[in-house]
């Protein structure tokens, strides 16, 4: 397992959500959520549409701050042991260490190189060789380097949808975050591109902690170590993936997995 867990026998979870309530204005979207995300594991969030998966994911890097009047009303979110709502938390540092990939691949209409280097540049990296090295490393990680190394300065919009999404992953991991949040990264992709990204997930888990929202149960089974099932803003069940899919403890989970859902 990870090398930085020296003192304790079990390393502390990298993300810990404790008794959290979340509201959009007056309407409550999440109820009393408890979740622990372990280092170097893939955690999947599943559940019917509108149950709050994206909301929960966006609580972890405080992207919900962008939504006016949306706020955590109870409980806390700890990342690497620190409450991210503390006054002395710098949002830019938090988001540098908790990266995010969106459902819709949205590369900037700039060159491939500039897309990947974006995060490093805004954090003040100017050294060309450092940037070059980071771009190569990130693209390699995203299984794009061999395909694209000769056209790094071509416009990113010229890539295929699957390549664009992998480019977005490369862009998100260029700043070497501890946690990578992915909100339905494959929902707009064809089966082959999806497969490529699923393969990637296992590679990524060696260096990063991944939290992924998915609608596709097979995908959750294939890529994740832990799965959380959400329903109407409540976390119904959270367990190792195999256990949750073969032997769910809750009746609600069972009926959702069987597709006999009312």
């Amino acid at each position: 397992m990870s090398a930085d867990s020296t003192a304790q026998s079990t390393p502390p979870p990298v993300v810990q959500v404790r008794d959290m309530d979340f509201c959009y204005g007056a309407s409550k979207a999440l109820f009393d959520i408890n979740l622990k995300v372990e280092y170097h594991r893939v955690t999947a969030l599943i559940g019917p549409s509108g149950c709050g998966k994206s909301t929960l994911l966006r609580c972890i890097n405080r992207m919900n701050d962008r939504v006016p009047s949306a706020r955590v009303t109870k409980g806390e979110v700890l990342v690497k042991g620190k409450n991210i709502h503390d006054a002395d938390v710098d949002l830019t540092q938090l988001r540098k260490q908790v990266g995010m990939v969106f459902q819709k691949s949205n590369p900037f209409p700039k060159s491939i190189y500039e897309n990947v280097a974006y995060g490093l540049r805004i954090h003040g990296e100017k050294n060309k060789s450092v940037l070059d090295e980071a771009v190569e490393r990130s693209l390699t990680h995203a299984a794009l380097w061999e395909e694209l190394k000769d056209r790094l300065h071509a416009n990113a919009l010229a890539l295929s949808g699957g390549q664009q999404q992998r480019l977005c992953i490369a862009r998100a991991i260029a700043t070497v975050p501890d946690v990578l949040l992915m909100d339905e990264p494959c929902s707009a992709l064809d089966p082959i591109s999806t497969l490529k990204i699923e393969e990637l997930m296992h590679q990524l888990a060696r260096e990063f902690t991944v939290v992924i929202v998915t609608h596709n149960m097979q995908q959750a089974v294939r890529v994740s170590d832990y799965t959380a099932f959400l329903h109407l803003g409540k976390l119904v069940e959270f367990a190792p993936t195999e256990e949750l899919f073969t032997n769910p403890r809750e009746k609600l989970t069972d009926s959702y997995l069987r597709g006999t859902f009312s």
Partner: protein, 393 residues
């Protein structure tokens, strides 16, 4: 149960009220469009027929260079006994009269109608540069704030409404505002405050005196800037909103601050549109008369803004002194009053009685002005086309 066809054509129209209304509506719309086109063409043709002969000529270099390179002057028209008219300027009049001798019958002077229109062209160019510079800076800053920083709500709606209202203010009101604000009270650094100074703040080495900038390019440019500000703010805000929200989310999710996000992943993609629409602002600023009447424009001026008498430098003046004088000559351009094309046209058109010479100068100026505005509009359209193709997402 099959109905028996009673008619050879099952789809024959019944000439009902619906169809008649359709035809009437189509014709009403068509006639309306034709009227607009015909009137526009008539105006253009009229100006072309009257103006083109003033600006172009049949001999090399085919352009009336005098008209484009000389300052406006008083035209002297001398008539001889045979009824021939000789046109000349104030310096040439005596010589012509001497040469004619007894042949001389009469002399007419027509102000503003001789020479060319270089003064107004230069003045309008300077006013446009200042006003577009000021309006772009203020307008884009305001648009960025409204679209990226301000909280959505009642207050923001009120600000938007206020900006829209600004667009409906008559331009002569802007002229009076400019007179009060920039000509008479804007702050400036002086050694000794003038009597009219509203109040003065001594700063030791100099005094900040609210005594206005006088009628000059700067006053007129700032006034025009406020005239075109609503156009620029509205257009810039639309361009900013057209940049996908995903760019902002992605940038922020990578840890960028709000300003970094705007600077690196919003503005670069909005700038082409902002520049394109501000070209239309240029056309507007170039054409306004009322806002500059009290703030910058003169009916007549026999010098270009940079033709100013500065004390001659001593022969052994240092390079620094030369440099300093060039700078003050350059800055002096903006504190001079100028002639401007629209105001020049107005001056000529308002001359009573009208005569063929004034009319000629007037149509020549209108023609030049329209060519300038049309080329601005055309470049705006071209630019937009090219940038649209380049920035698609």
């Amino acid at each position: 149960m099959n109905p028996v066809p009673t008619n050879d054509n099952p789809f024959a129209g019944d000439n009902s009220g619906i169809q008649q209304r359709e035809t009437a509506a189509r014709w009403a719309l068509r006639v309306g469009s034709y009227i607009v086109v015909i009137i526009t063409l008539a105006i253009m043709l009229h100006i072309f027929i009257k103006g083109a002969p003033v600006v172009f000529q049949s001999k090399w270099p085919f352009v009336n260079t005098q008209f484009l390179t000389e300052l406006p002057a008083t035209l002297h028209v001398i008539e001889d006994q045979q009824g021939n008219h000789i046109e000349t300027d104030v310096n040439g009049a005596d010589a012509v009269k001497k040469k004619l001798g007894d042949d001389f019958r009469s002399e007419k002077t027509i102000s503003y109608s001789g020479g060319g229109i270089l003064g107004p062209i230069v003045g309008t160019a300077l006013l446009v540069i200042v006003s577009v510079g000021v309006a772009l800076f203020l307008g884009v800053a305001c648009a960025i704030y409204l679209s990226e920083y301000a909280k959505h709500g009642k207050f923001l709606e009120m600000v938007r409404l206020a900006i829209l209202n600004l667009a409906g203010v008559p331009s002569v009101v802007f002229g009076l505002f400019g007179l009060g604000a920039f000509v008479l009270t804007a702050p400036t650094f002086v050694d000794v405050p003038a009597d009219r100074s509203v109040f003065a703040i001594p700063l030791g080495f100099t005094t900040l005196s609210f005594e206005g900038w006088d009628t000059c390019v700067l006053s007129g440019g700032f006034t025009l800037a406020f005239v075109i500000l609503p156009v620029i703010i509205t257009a810039s805000e639309q361009c900013l909103q057209a940049v996908p929200q995903g760019f902002r989310e992605t940038s922020m999710a990578l840890g960028a601050t709000r300003w970094q996000t705007i600077r690196y992943s919003v503005l670069p993609f909005a700038t082409p549109g902002i520049l394109t629409s501000s070209i239309l602002g240029i056309a507007r600023a170039a054409g306004e008369t009322a806002p500059i009447m009290f703030t910058a424009a003169l009916a007549f001026k026999d010098k270009l803004p940079w033709q100013k008498d500065l004390p001659p430098l001593p022969a052994d003046a240092s390079i620094f002194a030369h440099w300093e004088q060039s700078v003050s000559r350059f800055l002096g351009i903006f504190t001079e009053s100028v002639q401007a094309l629209p105001y020049h046209i107005y001056t000529l058109a308002a001359k009573i009685p009208q005569n063929e010479y004034a009319e000629r100068a007037q149509y020549g100026s209108v023609f030049v002005f329209l060519v300038l505005v049309a080329s601005l509009a055309a470049s705006s359209v071209l630019l937009r086309k090219r940038l649209r193709a380049k920035y698609r997402w």
